[in-house]
Amino acid sequence: LPAGLSQWFPALEVLDVSGTGLAELGAELLALPCLHTLLAKNNRLGGPGSLPKGLGQAALGRSLRVLNLSGNRFLEMPPALFALRGLRSLSLGGNRLHGIPPDIQELRSLEFLYLGGNFITSIPPELANLPSLSYLVLCDNKIQSIPPQLAQLHSLRSLSLHNNLLTYLPREILNLVHLEELSLRGNPLVVRFVRDLTYNPPSLLELAGRTIKTRNVGYAPSDLPESLVRYLSLASNCPNPKCGGVYFDSCVRQIKFVDFCGKYRLPLMHYLCSPECSSPCSSASQSSTSQSESDSEDEASVAARRMQKVLLG
């Protein structure tokens, strides 16, 4: 890029350098205080120095709203990216990303995130800390599971997960109140689930933790070693309404098949605190077929009303 760029065009708002063979975006961009849209797809970006140093402190770091880096060679999301606090739209589709760093949560203003066509294997729970995220594309990757924390993305309207390696979804997915589009085709979703027969009994630590939580035994941080205070904060609630219990590490996995709009059966993973527990509204039966028969009507019909378009088939 020409060195005098910010002097000649100080009012520049949109810059498209796509398909120009650039291997790095240089410091010439830093002093463009009005630049809100930078399109740099189909280039040779991806090595160190792809983004200019000092991006966080520069005018560009505050002004940029839309950044398109799709069709480049990024192996990982460049750390300089996370200084773009005002960024609303980010595309890194068609790169070579193997993962998403937890730092993604720094992009507090992000509404649109396109990461389709990479080699991503897992999603960090920190992705759920993006309060404005409404469009999330993770299709054509190698994702094996969705963290239940993603249900905290209250603004999510569209979630693209097709062509991945998902076998089930977390039941919390039903909590995404504004989700209208969900694509799941091309995933090896289970149609039948054999209940986990290898149930390891809880450790003494777990049993003690459960007792403290369910009996509401009071404690102050000064009463316990820090590690135990932290352990107690990780309790998860058992979804069995008759249980009201908690679990830490020892739990039973159970898949329930939930009908959507009478057309699709989604396998949703439930975590229960013991083999005697069962997820809401189902009978305490061993076989997976009868579980699918007695699906929670409330859960399904509420979710079905919300999710107008589940693209499974």
Binding site: N42, G71, S91, G93, G117, V137, C139, D140, S183
Partner: protein, 195 residues
């Protein structure tokens, strides 16, 4: 549609001319599929002529009505963002022509599922349609899924349906179960609709 006695070889020099010729062709009692397909393919896509209809939506592909063909056909422009795709669907006994105006679209053909079946649907074939190519499908040929598989480029396609229809069935690839859906327009004649 049947083969007329003489197959005319049309060349449409502009979108406006394409529409004019389509009106002429569909005014006849007999219309030839090959004639329409050749006509659609002959039009060389010029974005200036259709940009006003090409309204993209962030979340999914859009259907933008261009011409309602005196009730004989619907001509519309579909805008596909990166990664946008359709479900597997049929064409309600109508003829469907699909011409690529920009970018590429992947078309996957499927067999009709068994009436009482509960099995994974069978893929017949798939192909990538390039700019200016025109594909044709009807229910006797099969079902298809159309998608923009590019993660970097958008795609725009021109569709002709005759007779016009506003509902179709979508199919679950894993079970073959079908579900009737109503189709709506994101814009009509260049104006955004609000539904």
């Amino acid at each position: 549609m049947e083969q007329p006695m003489q197959t005319e070889m049309w060349k449409a020099e502009s979108l406006e001319e394409l529409i004019r010729i389509l009106h002429r062709i569909f005014a006849e009692d007999k219309v030839s599929v090959e004639e329409v397909q050749a006509l659609m393919e002959s039009y060389e896509s010029n974005p200036e002529e259709w940009l006003q209809y090409a309204k993209f939506d962030q979340y999914r592909y859009t259907r933008n009505l261009v011409d309602s063909g005196n009730g004989k056909f619907n001509l519309m422009i579909l805008c596909w963002g990166e990664g946008h795709g359709s479900s597997i669907h049929d064409h309600t006994d109508s003829h469907c022509f699909m011409k690529i105006l920009q970018g590429n679209l992947k078309e996957t053909l499927f067999e009709w599922p068994e009436k009482k079946g509960n099995d994974e649907m069978i893929k017949k074939s798939e192909r990538i349609l390039r700019e200016n190519q025109c594909a044709y499908i009807n229910d006797s040929i099969g079902l298809h899924r159309v998608e923009n598989i590019s993660h970097t480029e958008t795609a725009v396609s021109l569709h002709l349906y005759s007779p016009p229809f506003d509902s179709c069935n979508t199919f679950d690839q894993r079970t073959g179960h079908k579900h009737k859906v109503k189709m709506t327009f994101y814009s009509e004649f260049g104006e955004r609709t609000h539904c």
